[in-house]
């Protein structure tokens, strides 16, 4: 997995590339604990995310919960397979998917 961040004022775009599974989720989780400070507009660009596991979903969930307090969060460019998982687990109805 590879993470690319782009901060524009209070808006942060995080691009996740590759597989977000149980092994790589902790890395993203750790990244987010500091990266989200002062961010009011968080966007996850999932265009190149190939796979998301439950552990990855949990990281998104943590981010969503935090952003609920300090701003907003959305998912963009969600691919088909990832979208299936999001729908199956009910995340699709809970999160803003653009």
């Amino acid at each position: 997995m590879e993470i690319k961040k782009e901060l524009n004022g209070n808006a942060l775009t995080i691009k996740i590339i590759g597989r977000l599974d149980a092994a790589s989720a902790p890395e993203l989780s750790k990244e987010l604990t500091t990266a989200l400070d002062g961010v009011t507009d968080l966007t996850f660009d999932l265009a190149e995310l190939k796979y998301i596991a439950s552990a990855g979903l949990r990281v998104l969930l943590v981010a969503q919960k935090r952003m609920n307090k300090q701003g907003s969060m959305k998912l963009t460019n969600v691919g088909e397979s990832v979208m299936e998982v999001l729908e199956m687990t009910g995340f699709a109805s809970l999160m803003t998917i653009a």
Binding site: A22, R58, K65
Partner: protein
């Protein structure tokens, strides 16, 4: 063969040294050999050249000396002849003067040896035999006129003291005036002694028949006579002689007679011998006819012919006609007036013949010297040189022998020194390596505190330093490793605990009943996930089942699993009957959300089967849709599930409850994402499509153990050698009740 570095260095140094010595030795030997060869060759050449040079030099010197001697001899004879000729000319001129002006002279008388005794040096008169008894007054007058020369005659003859000589004048008419001298033992003439005149001389002497007279008369000019004998047949007065004679004339130019002097050739020759000191050799004079007229020998080719027969003599002893070609050639050159030194071969011996012309008379003076005698000296010189050269060669041989010994001994000594030095050198060279080796052995024995202390300043020191650094790093690494190992052990223990918890939670006693069959397997991944399954009876006819997957892994996941399982179990047993399944799930969610700061969540499929009717009530909380097998149609498809949110993170959300009815033989296959998302080595997922396709192809009427085994087999085929990435849970429930068959 294996050698230690010590031996290798030793061999290298000794080998290199040996090779160098060998090379130098070979070159030196070759050089020595060449020089020796050259030296010997040069010394031999030197000897030969010296000998040859000496030979040439000596020959040249000999020739020159011989030539000079011959020239001196020739000059001597020349001078003697010139003197004799001069005396003869004075006499002739005086006679011409007397007969040109007879009026100036009065008649003189001279003793007649027939009647008077005559002393040496005293002029006397003789008439030829044909006129001695009939002397006309005219003849007597001419003689008495001629007698005016007597004083001059005596004076001139005196200058020949030491020779046997005669001075004379003779008239054409037959008269003769002469004076003789004969030297005694003391080489001087006793002028008071009487001349022993013989009969032949007094009575038979005819001046006009003497060789000197005939020659001068015929030539009508001054001549040097050929060799002739005195008129005496024996005694001291009989000797070979030669003389100079000149005709004289009267005023009208008519020849009156011939005047001359002659002397013994032996006397002349002894004088030449004295002069040239040619002892052991032969001196001779060759006249213009090629005849020997003086000689130091009395026999052989160079002896003077003493034959009386003058006519027979001419040409008979001409050396130019000699059968000896070398001699004949030399004689020709001599007669031709040349000056040279030539080799001649006489009676089996080599000689040098030096000759020089006697210009006044056209003769040639010759000297013959034995080559052997002269070259005897030369041979000794040659021998001397050869001896010197052979001495030199012997000396050189000794020196070379000595040199050869030195050439062997010195390299041998140096090799010994080299061997010892290289032994020491290689020991010194190898010592730090041994230290290094010992130190490294100690380190490898476990003593990481050992420090190599090698200060050689070279690569070995660098190596030792490298070892020290390595040891330090090894120490640090081992410390870290210990720490990491402890940590890993801790984690492993933790994982083991989690696994134990997980395993302990799962029911293993599957009921054996007629109305349904149930079988589940859970294969945990290496790093434990949070899959779990559960089943329990809510009452006699209701079987509750749960298949769930907790997010995350390790202890937290395991604990969350325990909580989830218990909560679901508790709430289901508490109020499913009153409120249905959805409120149970909602209530459980509420409970799980409390204090869930970590945002753990669980996907779950929860169902309740009415064993009498086959009615199946279920809630799908974010879980994978199960596969349903319709026995009547012998077909599998995915259960159409409502997509509820997962349990745990969000409270106050509703959950939709669904119902379906199982017919007899229908089967539900529930699984976790460990099945559909199983990866092969190419990171490709197994995927729901393959699962449903396989389920449709396999025998779903088989007993559950076989069925699960088959599914597991197909999954394994896909995964291959790839490592299991997630827990794999498979749960199958077949309904066999309702409307008994």
């Amino acid at each position: 063969m294996k050698f230690s570095i010590h031996k290798k260095v030793l061999m290298l140094v000794v080998g290199a040294g040996l090779a160098a010595f060998l090379m130098v030795g070979i070159f030196a030997a070759i050089g020595r050999f060449l020089i020796q060869k050259d030296m010997i060759r040069m010394s031999v050449e030197l000897g030969e050249n010296s000998a040859t040079y000496t030979d040439k030099l000596l020959t040249a010197q000999l020739k020159q000396t011989l030539g000079e001697l011959a020239e001196a001899g020739a000059q001597f004879v020349d001078r003697e002849m010139i003197i004799a000729q001069g005396d003869a000319k004075i006499l002739a001129e005086t006679m011409t003067e007397i007969f040109s002006h007879p009026e100036n002279y009065s008649p003189e008388t001279l003793p007649d040896p027939r009647t008077e005794s005559v002393k040496f040096g005293e002029p006397y008169r003789i008439y030829a035999p044909d006129i001695s008894n009939n002397v006309t007054p005219e003849i007597q007058h001419e003689l008495e006129l001629a007698a005016n020369v007597k004083d001059l005659l005596a004076e001139i003859l005196k200058t020949y003291d030491g020779y046997n000589a005669t001075a004379f004048v003779g008239g054409e008419k037959g008269w003769f005036i002469g004076a003789d001298i004969l030297h005694g033992e003391d080489n001087h003439t006793d002028f008071n002694a009487t001349v022993p005149l013989s009969h032949e001389r007094i009575y038979n002497f005819d001046t006009r028949k003497r060789p000197w007279y005939i020659k001068a008369k015929n030539a009508n000019a001054p001549v040097i006579s050929d060799l002739y004998r005195t008129v005496e047949s024996s005694g001291k007065n009989s000797y070979q002689q030669l003389g100079a004679s000149v005709p004289f004339y009267d005023a009208a130019g008519n020849m009156i007679g011939v005047a001359g002097v002659d002397s013994s050739n032996e006397d002349l020759y002894s004088e030449i011998n004295r002069l040239t000191k040619n002892n052991g050799g032969i001196n001779f004079v060759l006249d213009n006819h090629g005849e020997v007229i003086f000689s130091t020998v009395t026999d052989g080719a160079f002896a003077v012919n003493t034959s009386e027969d003058l006519a027979a003599r001419y040409g008979a002893r001409d050396l130019r006609n000699s059968s000896n070609h070398s001699l004949a050639a030399a004689a020709s050159k001599m007669v031709a007036g040349e000056q040279e030194v030539v080799p001649v071969f006489l009676s089996g011996e080599d000689f040098y013949l030096a000759f020089s012309p006697i210009k006044s008379v056209g003769w040639s003076f010759g000297m013959v010297v034995s080559k052997e005698e002269v070259l005897g000296n030369m041979q000794s010189v040659q021998n001397y040189f050869q001896k010197q050269v052979s001495n030199l060669q012997e000396q050189m041989r000794k020196e070379y022998s000595y040199l050869n010994q030195v050439a062997v001994i010195i390299p041998a000594l140096m090799l010994i020194i080299l061997f010892f030095m290289s032994t020491r050198l290689s020991r010194r060279f190898v010592k730090p390596i041994h230290e290094l080796s010992d130190g490294v052995r100690e380190i490898s024995g476990g003593n990481l505190d050992k420090k190599l202390d090698i200060k050689t300043g070279d690569e070995i020191e660098q190596l030792a330093n490298g070892f020290n650094i390595m040891t330090d790093e090894l120490k640090t690494y081992m410390k870290n490793l210990e720490k990491e190992t402890a940590e890993k052990e801790r984690i492993a223990t933790e994982l083991d605990v989690a696994t134990e918890i997980q395993r302990g939670m799962l029911p293993k006693d599957f009921p054996t009943r007629e109305d349904f069959e149930l079988l589940a397997t859970m294969t945990p991944a290496k790093e434990v996930g949070g899959d779990f399954y559960d089943f329990y009876f809510l009452d006699e006819t209701h079987l509750a089942i749960t298949v769930a997957d907790v997010s995350g892994k390790g202890i937290p996941a395991a604990l969350f699993m325990v909580i989830s399982k218990n909560i679901l179990n508790n709430f289901a047993e508490s109020f499913y009957k009153q409120n249905g399944l959805a409120p149970v799930v909602a209530a459980a969610n509420e409970q799980l959300c409390a204090n869930n700061e970590a945002m753990m969540f669980v996907t779950a499929f929860i169902g309740v089967l009415d064993l009498e009717t086959g009615e199946f009530t279920f809630v799908n909380a974010g879980h994978n849709p199960p596969v349903i097998y319709h026995a009547e149609e012998n077909r599998c498809d995915f259960l159409d599930v409502k997509k509820n949110f997962v349990l745990g993170p969000m409270d106050g959300i509703p959950f939709a409850e669904q119902k379906t009815t199982f017919k007899r033989g229908d089967l539900i296959f529930i699984y976790t994402d460990g099945v559909t998302e199983a990866l092969n080595v190419d990171n490709e997922e197994y995927l729901p499509d393959r699962l449903i396709a396989f389920m449709n192809s396999t025998d779903c009427k088989a007993d559950l153990e076989t069925l699960l085994k088959n599914v597991r087999g197909d999954l394994s085929k896909h995964v291959g050698a790839a490592e299991q990435s997630d827990d794999i849970t498979m749960f199958a429930l077949r309904f066999n009740g309702g409307g008994k068959a």
